[in-house]
């Protein structure tokens, strides 16, 4: 076997990929936005309560086309992460996202969401301001939007917090990204009463990009460079860009008015059960 063949581009197990996601040099949405979009202008606030640093939103150009960009913000280092709350958004973050998405629909701009979060924040303020309602509302409204929505999971696709930006026409995942109903740690803690078994949980609950493609949830795997996105952020960004271009082109070929219907059908099909006999 040649050397090139013996080193796979993407590690085999979910756990190894999670370790790669945790590499301190892994590019974040803040690194990708200037590479993917020209003249990005950030727009702040949900108009009700505040501005959530965990989600960044704004307008920019993707290959000359105006688009709305919404992304979870992972920081580098403690200062940045304090400002972005480790990408765990409060309700006002989801409400800001929704406000900007509706603005996108009004001005016929496609929406690009970059997903990278451990989950929606769990805390007192989050509950008081209706985290459940904010996440639910985004799903309902995103199902209705008459404008293309393309989401990319950059690293961590954490549960409802990820889904609040991922009800889309087309979902891409970086090759080392994962997307799950709960963190492996939470899973091990709830089902096995032993949080230390998180590695085992990660490898058994089917959270890799390949798994999600098989389930019909993910539409494309965006290949990272050998060793992970941090080895060559520019190359990774180009791969994301190619994915966005191709998916937007495909979506824009069809009538915009049919988008909510096809988006609903995409999610409607997901589920594994048997009808049984009465």
């Amino acid at each position: 076997m040649s050397a090139a063949q013996s080193v796979p581009a993407t590690p085999a197990t979910a756990w190894e990929r999670i370790e790669l996601q945790r590499n301190k040099n892994r590019p974040t949405a803040k690194d990708y936005i200037p590479m993917l979009f020209d003249h990005f202008i950030e727009l702040h606030g949900d108009r009700y309560f505040g501005d959530d640093g965990a989600i960044i939103g704004g307008v920019g150009r993707f290959q000359r086309m105006p688009v709305t960009v919404i992304a979870h913000v992972k920081g580098r280092g403690l200062e940045e992460n304090k400002a972005s709350n480790f990408a765990m958004a409060h309700p006002e973050g989801y409400r800001k996202a929704l406000r900007l998405m509706k603005q996108a629909e009004k001005f016929c701009r496609p929406i690009i969401c970059l997903v990278d979060t451990p989950g929606a924040y769990c805390g007192i303020g989050a509950e008081e301001r209706g985290q459940h309602e904010a996440v639910a509302r985004n799903q309902l409204e995103m199902m209705r939007l008459k404008t293309p929505i393309v989401s990319v999971v950059l690293g961590e696709g954490g549960s409802g917090g990820a889904l609040g930006l991922a009800v889309c026409d087309c979902l891409g995942m970086l090759s080392n990204a994962t997307y799950s109903v709960i963190s492996p740690r939470g899973f091990a803690s709830i089902l096995w009463k032993d949080a230390s078994r998180e590695k085992e949980a990660a490898n058994s609950v089917k959270i890799t990009a390949e798994d999600l493609c098989r389930f019909g949830i993910c539409d494309a795997i965006i290949q990272e460079p050998m060793g992970g996105a941090h080895r060559n952020p520019q190359l990774t960004s180009e791969a994301i860009s190619a994915f966005l271009k191709e998916s937007l082109k495909k979506i824009l070929e069809k009538p915009i008015d049919n988008l909510p219907e096809t988006r609903y059908i995409k999610f409607r099909k997901i589920g594994v059960f048997e009808e049984g006999q009465e």
């Binding site: 007192i124 989050a126 509950e127 985290q131 639910a136 199902m143 889904l163 109903v181 048997e274 049984g276």
Partner: protein, 289 residues
Amino acid sequence: MLEDLFGKVKSRVGILGEGDDGGKVSVPEDMMFKCPRCRRVEFMENFAVAGKVCPHCNYHSRLTAGERLEITADSGTFQEWDKAMKSLNPIDFPGYGEKLRELEEKKGMNDGVVTGTCSIEGQSCVIGVMDSHFMMASMGSVAGEKITRAFERATEQRLPVVFFTASGGARMQEGIISLMQMAKTSGAVARHSDAGLLYITVMTDPTTGGVAASFAALGDIIIAEPKVLIGFAGRRVIEDTIKQRLPDDFQSAEFFLQHGFVDLLVERSAMKKTLGRLLRFHNAEEVRL
């Protein structure tokens, strides 16, 4: 009165104590209700007479789907849909298939959600009831599909939906497939709403996690039973995150009423009447002078 109390205990203990456990006195579990809210103890009999509401603190405890339908639907009007639908094991999670078959056998039901049509105070509607006695009524493929079909059929038949929610959240054992049921059910609610139809959520104990964060939060009118638990994240998760103890009433129905996420609290004894009235208010045929 005290003697009365004792007499009741004695008679039950007597009957059950004569068995083969070597004469050891044991109080049967089904005899007393210990309220998870105020922690006071009450005879099951008194608790049952009160409609399974704690006579001390008014906590509205959990009902089975059958009990809920019995006190909600007009007699003989309930017709169930998709009764035989069963979960499979989409992510091949070890032990899940066996656990399901065991529960199906034991509980006599296939999942924690019952859907169908009925009339409430003479008003036709689609009704859904979640039963926390089956795997905490967690939402996996079966729940997601039954809920989605209920909204789709309500849309086709132009009927309102009344949904009694109760759930621990997404069903972990079905992994990412469960998460997608949130989007799927929310989409079905959107289409029902776009058709101009009424959706009433009744949040019962407990309405949490992925169910609270999807179709349950999207009613035109959101009712909650008093003292029930509602919330996005689990109490322990929040306490671990913020490193402090939370007040007792945190994430209660009253808490969410105060914060604006619940329209009204309704006592179990007044639920049917209130639902009937709301259904009539939203019946287009009644809008005339």
